[in-house]
């Protein structure tokens, strides 16, 4: 356990902001605040669905929000994998998988779980289990990212 390094309060308050953002998209615009879907729409990879201006504005907001926090509270830790292979391989699989599975941590994990959607419950259980298993396998094989 790493409770000394954990940030329960910041996690909870940051989570509340994320949930508030999802609530605004749902009640204001009638849609799901799913980042993978919005990215696909904003880039034109997906056609149909959320109108392009809305998806693009939402995606543009993500880095702006991170910048705001950096200005308000100081530097944000971003300990990325040092291996370019891990970044590229991880990115490829995340992109492919989120399209195939119709969502990621935001759409299925936050919006879908809170809706008690059976599809999202299964999706979230699947990617959580795969995430735990992947990190465990990498540890067992001595692979670092």
């Amino acid at each position: 356990m790493n409770w000394t390094g954990a940030m329960p309060l910041a996690g909870l308050t940051g989570g509340l902001l994320i949930g508030l953002a999802g609530a605004i998209i749902l009640l204001g615009l009638g849609r799901i605040a799913g980042v993978s879907g919005m990215v696909a729409r904003a880039t034109g990879i997906a056609s149909g669905g959320t109108p392009w201006p809305i998806a693009s504005a939402f995606i543009l907001g993500l880095p702006l929000g991170a910048l705001l926090v950096a200005f308000a509270f100081g530097p944000i830790a971003t300990r990325f994998p040092t291996s370019v292979t891990a970044l590229v391989l991880g990115g490829l699989i995340v992109g492919f998988g989120t399209r195939m599975g119709s969502g990621c941590t935001s759409g299925h994990g936050v919006c879908g779980l809170s809706r008690l959607s059976p599809r999202s419950i299964v999706a979230t259980a699947s990617f959580m289990a795969a995430g735990f298993a992947t990190v465990a396998a990498m540890r067992a094989l001595g692979v670092t990212s």
Partner: protein
Amino acid sequence: MRRVLIALLAGVLFGAGLAHSGMSDPARVRAFLDLFGGAWDPTLAFVMVGAILPMAVAWRIRRRLDAPIADTSFVLPATTGITRSLIGGSVLFGIGWGIAGLCPGPAIADLVIAPVPAAIFVAAMLGGMILHRLLLAPPAKQPHLETPHV
């Protein structure tokens, strides 16, 4: 224009939440997924609880609305229909998530905080999305109009 501003506001709040909660730090996310490293970091679980609370309230409010506040109708995905694609895609996503410690939201938010590694990941992610479109080109995805609640 109003809808675009609402989407932008939501995006800013979402990005701020990711950065404030530590979820824009891939090592912290991997520390949550690392059950056997002796340094498990539960922060992500607190983020999930924090995010689900307002959303659960929003879903209850949604039942009372005929239409969203700033748009004409709710356009929501189906909740049922457990398919191979759903499970297979989600498992793949989880593998990539475990490898890099990144999912789409934090990767995009990090483009301004750690531009180089974030851009590499995001470029590969878009490549993966394009690859999916080329290989599995799903029959033109129509958004499901949700059936009215009973």
